[in-house]
Symmetry: C2
DNA sequence: AACCTTGTTCCGCCAAGCGGAACACTCAAG
DNA sequence: CTTGAGTGTTCCGCTTGGCGGAACAAGGTT
């Protein structure tokens, strides 16, 4: 009947434990036991047991004075190890650096994750853009330049667009048909653009894999005020060259 | 009876699930179901069930062709959110940048985690040092400059030194009594030095909290070949100034 | 002092998790 | 082609670990 307060993934010990851990990780302040039990619709004693296990495993710490619980850095430690050995990120690091040197603008590496774009890496411009997405954060793919660059080669692009439209607040941002035709143009031109953040313009291109889909995308973002027609042209040219080189490298490994 | 092959944290569904997840996260290649069962001393059917749960929760992905399992980027995603809101790291970011500008050398931010130092942040020198520790990695605290800077104000320093001596391979690296007297000197001078990596010299100073212990440490590392007496002096001076300023800022929040 | 909270502990009930065994399948050697 | 040793997956009976209600202790606030 879907009568849960929270979109719970199911019952059982493991899903519960992860629900608690995620809640703690996403919350920016330490949480009380009761607050966790309330927000997850679980029994206090259950939450207590789960927390005891997580503390034992080192994923959660309990502040001794306030008896609040917060996630430890264990998750982060495991996570950084994961992304450090990510093949695309490893291969891309030097190319991103080089592209940043050439353009002097903010350069990002993203992959598709569900309906979102996940920021794997980023080199910020010396004069950084405000409201930039943090590395490790996710943004609906159809909004971003890198996301559109990847969606152009994704079979399920239309479904992603529909789901995203349901999800976001300002529905005018995504009109399905215009987006789909934009993706056609992206396939032709080889790059996508986006200005979904006010005052910031982005250019994104896919890193193509052998199977015809995009393994990742690189995007260059700059404030509109700093962009001229010739600068835009130069950015796109350097971006496409970088992605082509990188695709060759990725294909080789 | 402690008859486990692996230092297992205990039985039950949740510890098992985390054992599997950690194994996958730490392994740099995708693992087969049998390999996991073997290495953790678990039944195949148990591993299968656990993996199914982890896949459902989005922490593990299964390659469709080889049916291997690997950790997804979910852990990393949660982890980056965690460290991004870490108060010390947030406060330190600007100071690290500034210290890097002043010294043009590699600057690191570390915290104490167990008996280790955990690298929270790092700004690498334009001519980067080889064999540098990755952000998110851990190194035995008594080996590093930042670690010694923090241990100098840690009550359990001696115990940490003993445990670390047991743990490492080259026991000559740590002589308990000489380390303890070195920590005394660190308290007097306000900074520590280390050259546990061949050819690299590091200077570390603590960021003091109100309780008289070190909340974190900043260290500056440079190849010995690039260091003169005056350069060393300048680095230490700038390092100490930075840590003092930062401690004030951290104390305020 | 009479309430609310909070976190923690206890305990009976029961299902979720466990692991052995059987299954389907692939690949390599015979 | 057949055999065999792997693999991953499924089934199922048993029992243990997890569940949640209730009682408990400790502060904090009215």
């Amino acid at each position: 009947m879907m009568s849960e307060l929270v979109p719970n993934t199911g019952d059982g010990a493991v899903p519960r434990a992860f629900a608690v851990l995620e809640l703690l990780a996403l919350s920016n302040e330490p949480l009380r036991l009761s607050a966790i039990a309330l927000r997850l619709g679980m029994q206090k004693s259950t939450v207590h047991r789960v927390l005891a296990t997580l503390v034992l495993l080192g994923y959660v710490e309990q502040e001794e004075e306030s008896s609040c619980y917060r996630a430890s850095l264990r998750l982060w430690e495991l996570g950084t190890g994961l992304v450090a050995q990510h093949p695309v990120k490893r291969a891309a690091a030097g190319f991103l650096q080089q592209l940043h040197q050439a353009t002097h603008e903010t350069v990002s590496l993203t992959v598709l994750s569900g309906d979102d774009v996940l920021y794997l890496d980023k080199i910020v411009s010396p004069r950084p853009i405000r409201f930039t997405s943090r590395v490790g954060s996710r943004v609906p793919a159809p909004l971003t330049a890198g996301g559109k660059a990847m969606l152009a080669y994704e079979p399920g692009a239309r479904a992603i667009a529909r789901r995203t439209r349901q999800r976001i607040q300002d529905k005018r941002r995504i009109e399905i048909e215009s987006l789909m035709s934009e993706l056609d143009q992206v396939r032709e031109a080889g790059f996508a653009t986006s200005s979904f953040r006010p005052g910031v313009e982005s250019f994104g291109a896919p890193i193509m894999a052998q199977d015809g889909r995009a393994a990742a995308a690189i995007s260059v973002s700059a404030p509109t005020s700093r962009l001229s027609a010739s600068k835009r042209e130069a950015i796109v040219e350097q971006l496409l060259a970088t992605c082509a080189d990188l695709a060759e490298r990725v294909g080789a490994l």
